[in-house]
């Protein structure tokens, strides 16, 4: 137990050193890469609550990521121009916009989950995928917000005491968010609620037989995961100062799934490792060839066939 906390502290300390290392090496790109990893790790950790702990293979996680991002984008758009529907003013303060993004994603997850969780197994996979696709089309068709081309905005959301253009500071903001989310999820999976989730993954029929109304617990987990993805989306929008339907593309949902499984599902460190591996592998392969996916695809097949427990599993 103590060793685990120590390991976590060491990992956080190392993550804090990334900007210094990037400066020493003269590679500021590393900071962006690190920020990206932290953001994806947040979304993937939330998804792992479903895949790894509850046993729900949600294939529509990009929807909540995108909704969080678009909340930021749309609020910035209205802050710079006309109020929404002529009445709702835009927002630029992080402490208002980010909770709003989380809330929007949570509500969407509640609605999608309420419908999707009426089914199980492969139908659940298809349905979550389909609903995410629906939101994708919604934003493609919203010409006001850029449609296909996406929506850019000039400044990151304001955080008191932090310069909006300071990439290093923003890295630390995302890192803090990641640590907080992981701490939160750590409490959740070890709580009574978390026990119930894990029980449902191991033996759903048994859980019903001992008197559990499983639906509402699954729905709560689904909503929590959606909310966490909303936060990640909001951060991602801030990183790029740009949102587009790509955030909701179905391959994004696939990528989040890969991060969870690649790192090791059913652990909290796993998604973080998976996100890091995925981002680093992509940027590394992309240096060699623009056709990096031709390598990535078979790697994925290989991992599924021969290293089912992910990168973490290799060290156990």
């Amino acid at each position: 137990m103590v060793r685990r906390y120590l390991a976590a502290l060491v990992a956080i300390a190392l993550a804090c050193l990334v900007p210094a290392v990037a400066a020493a090496l003269g590679k500021p790109d590393l900071i962006t890469l690190g920020t990206q990893i932290a953001i994806y790790a947040i979304a993937a950790a939330g998804l792992d609550l479903l895949i790894g702990y509850t046993g729900l293979s949600s294939f529509g996680h990009a929807a909540f990521f995108g909704l969080g991002g678009y909340t930021v984008g749309i609020m910035a758009f209205h802050a710079a121009g006309e109020p929404m529907f002529g009445v709702i003013p835009g927002l630029t303060e992080a402490w208002l916009v980010w909770p709003l993004a989380i809330a929007v994603s949570a509500i969407a997850a509640l609605a999608i989950g309420a419908l999707s969780l009426r089914t199980i197994g492969v139908s659940f996979i298809m349905i979550t995928l389909a609903f995410a696709e629906m939101f994708f089309f919604l934003f493609v068709s919203l010409k006001t917000y850029g449609g296909d081309d996406g929506l850019g905005f000039r400044r990151r959301n304001a955080i008191p005491g932090i310069a909006p253009r300071d990439d290093v500071a923003f890295y630390y903001v995302c890192l803090t968010a990641l640590v907080l989310v992981l701490a939160l999820l750590h409490r959740v999976v070890h709580s009574r609620f978390g026990r119930v989730l894990q029980g449902m993954r191991q033996n759903p029929r048994r859980m019903e037989a001992i008197g559990l109304a499983t639906y509402r617990y699954k729905l709560t987990a689904f909503t929590i995961a959606g909310a966490v993805a909303g936060l990640a989306g909001a951060l991602h929008a801030n990183l790029l100062r740009f949102v587009s339907p790509d955030m909701l593309h179905w391959t994004m949902s696939g990528d989040f799934m890969i991060m969870v499984v690649l790192g090791g599902a059913g652990t909290l460190v796993g998604p973080v490792i998976g996100a890091a591996a995925m981002v680093l592998l992509q940027s590394w392969l992309a240096q060699w060839t623009e056709h990096w996916m031709i390598v990535m695809g078979p790697i994925l097949v290989f991992v599924v066939l021969f290293a089912r427990r992910g990168i973490l599993g290799l060290f156990r």
């Binding site: 409490r187 191991q202 033996n203 008197g211």
Partner: protein
């Protein structure tokens, strides 16, 4: 003595097959009531209907006088009835203690508590340890359920059923797959249990059934052809016909 479980005119068809045919069944408070019959007689279907996993086509099921015919599984458990499974059904990755503690957690009410660590919650682990002790598994509390011996897993299942605080246990072949010694041990555990709990037992092990049961109901083709104390059942011509192929 009143009937704790009262089944009247229960019907269930699967396509053309009548799995449960106009079944009447009374399980009296405090008794161990065995449900026996040849393979395919509809015993598992009957348990499925009573526990709420299957919906009957007709008939009523009452538990302690409350009509539960259409009640969901969770509601039936709250009213004091739970089942075990033919195939061992436990949570393999959790320890024996965690398995039983989780049942106590669900019995105690809703599980929308997100913060406190469940493993250190004495209000869950203490009763769980007591139940494990009652069922003879105290020494194995910290072992992951999948690493328990088969007989121990069946014991664990029983502990979980017990922990729901059920007034009525539906046991679906608790001896299935057990060796002779393990069966003997399980018979003793059931003999101990029946002093505290009403039990509806489906079992193929006839030695165990006749040693344990206060009353026996015999199912053939989904229908109860006889019901009574063990000795009467042993002598019943209809039962002998069903089992031994004798002319009734």
């Amino acid at each position: 003595m009143s009937a704790l479980l009262e089944v009247r005119g229960l019907m269930k068809r699967f396509g053309g097959l009548i799995a449960t045919n106009n079944l009447d069944l009374d399980v009296t408070e405090g008794e161990l009531h065995a449900l026996i019959g040849p393979n395919g007689a509809g015993k598992s279907t009957a348990i499925g209907l009573i526990s709420g996993e299957l919906k009957p086509d007709a008939g009523t099921i009452r538990l302690a006088r409350a009509d539960i015919t259409a009640a969901p599984i969770a509601a039936r458990v709250r009213l004091g009835m739970t089942r075990s499974f033919q195939v061992t059904s436990i949570l393999p990755e959790f320890t024996a203690l965690e398995n039983v503690a989780l049942v106590e957690q669900i019995r105690a009410g809703h599980s929308f508590r997100f913060w406190r660590e469940a493993a250190r919650d004495r209000s869950l682990t203490d009763p769980a340890r007591d139940t494990l002790a009652r069922i003879g598994l105290a020494a194995r509390a910290e072992v992951a359920a999948r690493d328990l011996a088969h007989g121990e897993q069946r014991q664990l299942e029983l502990a979980m059923a017990l922990m729901t605080g059920a007034k009525l246990l539906l046991l679906d072949e608790p001896m299935a797959g057990l060796g002779a010694t393990e069966s003997q041990a399980m018979t003793e555990i059931l003999a101990g249990l029946k002093r505290h709990t009403t039990i509806l037992l489906v079992e193929h092990d006839m030695d165990a059934v006749f040693a344990l049961a206060d009353r026996i109901t015999v199912l053939v083709y989904g229908q109860a052809i006889a019901s009574g104390p063990p000795d009467a059942i042993r002598a019943d011509p209809a039962v002998r016909a069903a089992y031994l192929g004798e002319e009734a």
